[in-house]
């Protein structure tokens, strides 16, 4: 009986795969004659979203920089590099003959031009006026339905949520209750993550306060002078790698006297993409958890 049902379900699934699909993007319902095989993504957030669905895109922009700054999930060698994120090479994109182009936060004129190359899905991913993390979750699920990976997506999200809850419980009786998530910019300036960022969302879910709250903004980040870190008196300072020229601060006396640094409450985190897909939330939570545990084993 169960076997028969499974077969039936699989058949239905197979039928669904062959038939037309309708998917909702920012412009409304978009219809596709069949499920796409070749997906081209035009930014790193979507590259993460698609790779996190175990779909290998045919094209991603600026792959070398992605490997350095985004790192996970890695991009397989066969993916074509289509150049700059703000100006991908349209001719190469066309030559790759994608079934669908996925793009976020694009100007309407760009959408119109890209639609000549292939059918297109356009999303609003980052915006000061909405919740970036809720949007990332929506986009992930939409793409999952579209690419026939819904079960996988639900499983991954459930697993991520469960994992974050576990990490939160693990931290719940830890001594560090507040943390500032930053990137080092140069010897005297830093980027601070605040409302509407993955870092802030991960802190919220972990039950850790933001030691340097920032008002919500499009990218959830503000550039501040290094000495704002002095405001972090009872909490950790966690810096996302790579530091680039920001590594120069480690040499400075001001750095050594920062309360968090002097109190051995500073830790580095591996590359995390702060402007990425929804699973970036789990990656942030894991990195923050690991850093806090390392500070207070």
């Amino acid at each position: 009986m169960i076997r028969a049902l499974t077969v039936l379900l699989l058949l239905c699934a197979g039928l669904a795969q062959a038939g037309p699909v309708t998917v909702e993007d920012r412009r409304g319902a978009q219809s596709f004659a069949e499920r796409p095989e070749r997906v081209a993504v035009l930014d790193w957030a979507l590259a993460q979203q698609v790779l996190d669905l175990d779909v290998v895109p045919v094209a991603v922009p600026e792959i070398a920089l992605y490997s350095e700054w985004v790192a996970t999930p890695p991009i397989p060698d066969m993916v074509a590099d289509i150049g700059r994120r703000d100006a991908p090479d349209l001719e190469r994109l066309a030559a790759l003959a994608p079934d669908v182009i996925v793009i976020s936060d694009a100007a309407p004129a760009d959408v119109a031009r890209l639609e000549r190359i292939a059918p297109l899905l356009a999303f609003d991913a980052f915006d000061a006026g909405h919740d970036n993390i809720a949007a990332a979750r929506r986009i992930y699920l939409t793409l999952a339905r579209f690419l026939d990976r819904e079960a996988l997506a639900q499983a991954r999200l459930a697993q991520m949520d469960k994992e974050i809850d576990r990490l939160a419980r693990d931290l719940s009786d830890g001594p560090i209750r507040r943390a500032a998530i930053i990137r080092l910019n140069d010897a005297s300036t830093i980027w601070v993550y605040g409302d509407n960022s993955f870092a802030q969302a991960a802190l919220n879910r972990l039950g850790i306060g933001n030691a340097l709250p920032q008002p919500p903004s499009r990218w959830g980040v503000a550039q501040r002078p290094l000495d704002v870190l002095a405001q972090v008196e009872t909490g950790a300072v966690l810096a996302i790698r790579p530091h680039g020229p920001g590594a120069a601060v480690f040499e400075s006396p001001v750095w050594r006297f920062l309360p968090a640094v002097a109190g051995e409450c500073f830790a580095e985190m591996p590359p995390l993409w702060s402007y990425g897909g929804i699973l970036s939330l789990g990656r942030h939570a894991q990195a923050i958890h690991a850093a806090l545990i390392a500070l207070n084993p």
Binding site: W69, D89, A95, F126, D186, S217, G246, S252, V254
Partner: protein, 652 residues
């Protein structure tokens, strides 16, 4: 003596306020720390290792830039000479950007020498362009601004291709004084002090120089070695300041002028007063940056504030200093008297060949491909080719009009601030409105460009719109607007990515309709230039000649200026700022023999078209699949060729 005491007291007061703004400590605690108390809390260390070094850094850099400016001005007898206006500062900056990305170890260990080499190269170019004699006048400043434009374009391309976002290089390129220890301040002090001492040994030579080159030599000054040492010192001071904190403009220009204004007459007094005033000025502007940082979400770089204060100061100084009777006559660069037939034919064939190549020659993953494009590829390519061609034509025409009007073969919409006006209007609207820079629209750009124009006209009225005053006001406005863009970009975090791409001047986002409109506008502009050719001829012959022939200057000047500004603004709104085409094309046209207005407009338009179409194609192919903006490629190509020509022929 009293003046020196006054300047000193003023600097002290500003320093006190600067410390109070930069630190949270109370005065007694500051004093205790100053006298050697052990720092205990972070606020203590912040005072001793961030607020104090920032203060010292501002004083040192300000002194270095003020002294460098004074040396440049006394050497050249040109009140507008400065590290910024003679190209030295941007040369140092470009050298450091290149070295930081390509040879990081060298840049970290010997940044000052890298910067010095860059500054010397840029200054060498300016001297080669204007000639030693030209250093005393406008042409040196215009040549310096041309060098600035070229180097800025190269640096912007490097940044565009190298960074996930632009925080670091922006703040650094924009020059910020923030410190997190004494390392840099001590580094700078150790290198600066010998140079300061050496400069004061030059006062006798500088005094002799005021009597004229012959007089100085007659009294036993060996001129060339002296000039070399003094210029080397000024360049060294510039290089040190740039290597320590990045690009900070205007201090070196304003401080010596203020010093003379305050009554410093003798070389020694002028050097010392410039040093003191430079230190005080930079400190005061940095104080404003400190206050601004309390108010804004993102950091405001010190240099942006310096430019926001310095540019108006320059305009004010200029209005006080410059005489009314500026009757410069436009001199065309040398060249044949007429355009040979062959040149017209060659230009047309080149244009056709470039267009054909731009449409058919492409790169794929497998290599080069010369094919008649498919319908889709053709649709992707032709708006870019047409947009590039129209932009080249429009910028060239704008340049032809401006060069005649300002009577200087180095005038162009980018150097005079019209492109910058449009740029600021577009970037400002995009950042304040939160929309995409590509959707702001031509109206706003023309508004910005015309605003600069109105300012130019309003400010120039006292001098009867004398060309020199117009040109200098334009340069100051351009720098002011450039600083505004930098602040906006610094405050824009990730959005700066799209804007930086746009700042290169790219045909990437030109639609079919826009390309068509731009072409129509450019052709209309060509028609107007041809209709107005008598006016332009008379205007370039000098005011007396124009008036004698019955031309109404009050009508002709604003009309021609508006035409030039509108053409530049249209290109800026659709492509982004495109530099150098408006400078190079009219110039090259004259060198080919197009000496009359009509011939020059046609020939320059053709050259501009070819240059832009070629640059657009090269930008698409050179680093495939990375797309370089056509405007940047045109700047680098056109700028290098232009400098080469200028150096070879010394056309000014």
């Amino acid at each position: 003596m009293i003046r020196a005491a006054l300047i000193g007291a003023l600097v002290l007061v500003v320093a006190g306020v600067h410390l109070a703004a930069g630190s949270d400590l109370a005065l007694p605690r500051m004093a205790a720390l100053f006298l050697g108390a052990e720092p205990q809390a972070f606020a203590d260390v912040q005072f001793t290792h961030a607020a104090l070094p920032r203060l010292v850094m501002a004083l040192l850099c300000g002194a270095a830039l003020g002294l460098a400016g004074s040396l440049f001005q006394q050497l050249t007898q040109n009140p507008l000479a400065a590290p910024l206006t003679l190209g030295a500062a941007s040369g140092a900056w470009l050298a450091l950007v290149v070295a930081t990305l390509l040879f990081p170890a060298l840049a970290a260990a010997h940044g000052e020498w890298v910067a010095f080499a860059g500054a010397a190269t840029a200054f060498g170019l300016v001297v080669a362009i204007s000639g030693l004699r030209g250093l005393t006048g406008m042409s040196a400043v215009l040549a310096g601004m041309a060098v600035n434009l070229l180097f800025g374009a190269i640096a912007a391309t490097i940044v565009l291709l190298q960074s996930p976002y632009f925080g670091h290089l922006f703040i650094w390129g924009a020059g910020d004084l923030g410190q997190s220890g004494w390392d840099k301040a001590l580094w700078l002090a150790l290198r600066l002090l010998p140079l300061l001492a050496l400069s004061l040994l030059l006062t006798r030579g500088l005094a002799l120089l005021r009597t004229g080159a012959e007089g100085a030599e007659a009294r036993g000054l060996s001129l060339l070695p002296f000039l070399a040492v003094a210029a080397g010192l000024a360049l060294g001071l510039t290089a040190l300041a740039v290597a320590a904190v990045g690009l900070i403009g205007f201090i070196g220009l304003v401080a010596p002028n203020l010093a003379r204004f305050a009554g410093a007459r003798l070389p020694r007094a002028e050097l010392l007063a410039s040093m003191g005033l430079g230190a005080g000025l930079l400190l005061a502007t940095d104080l404003l940056a400190l206050f601004a940082n309390h108010l804004t979400r993102d950091l405001v770089p010190s240099s942006a504030v310096a430019a926001l204060v310095g540019a108006p100061a320059l305009i004010w100084l200029m209005r006080r200093r410059l005489g009314v009777g500026d009757q410069a006559v436009f001199r065309l660069p040398p060249g044949p008297a007429r355009v040979p037939r062959l040149a017209w034919l060659g230009l047309m064939l080149t244009g056709l060949a470039f267009t054909l190549a731009a449409l058919t020659l492409g790169r794929t993953e497998d290599g080069w491909q010369a094919l008649w494009p498919t319908a889709l590829t053709f649709d992707l390519r032709w708006p870019r080719v047409l947009g590039a061609a129209a932009a080249g034509l429009a910028m060239a025409l704008s340049g032809v009009v401006l060069q005649r009007l300002i009577r200087n073969p180095l005038a162009s919409p980018d150097i005079l601030g019209m492109t910058a006006g449009a740029t600021v209007a577009l970037v400002g609207t995009a950042i304040i409105g939160g929309g995409s820079i590509h959707e702001v629209g031509a109206g706003i750009a023309i508004f910005g460009s015309l605003l600069v124009l109105l300012l130019l006209l309003g400010l120039g009225r006292r001098h009867g719109h004398a060309p020199t005053v117009l040109a200098l006001t334009g340069i100051a406005l351009a720098a002011l607007l450039d600083a505004l863009v930098k602040v906006a970009l610094a405050a824009g975090s990730q959005d700066s990515y799209a804007i930086l791409g746009w700042l290169g001047g790219s045909t990437y986002r030109v639609t079919e309709a826009e390309a068509g409109q731009l072409l129509l506008a450019a052709l209309l502009g060509l028609g107007l230039v041809l209709v107005l050719r008598r006016w332009l001829t008379l205007l370039s012959a000098g005011d007396d000649m124009a008036l004698a022939r019955g031309l109404s200057l009050r009508l002709a000047r604003p009309v021609c200026l508006t035409l030039a500004a509108a053409l530049a603004a249209l290109v800026t709104s659709w492509l982004g700022p495109v530099a150098f085409v408006g400078l190079l094309a009219p110039h090259a046209a004259v060198m080919l023999g197009a000496r009359r207005v009509a011939a020059q407009a046609l020939m320059a338009g053709g050259i501009g078209t070819v240059l832009m179409v070629g640059s657009d194609w090269l930008g698409r192919m050179a680093l495939h699949p990375m797309q370089l903006p056509a405007g940047t490629v045109a700047s680098v190509l056109g700028g290098s060729y232009f400098l080469y020509l200028l150096v070879r022929r010394r056309v000014l």
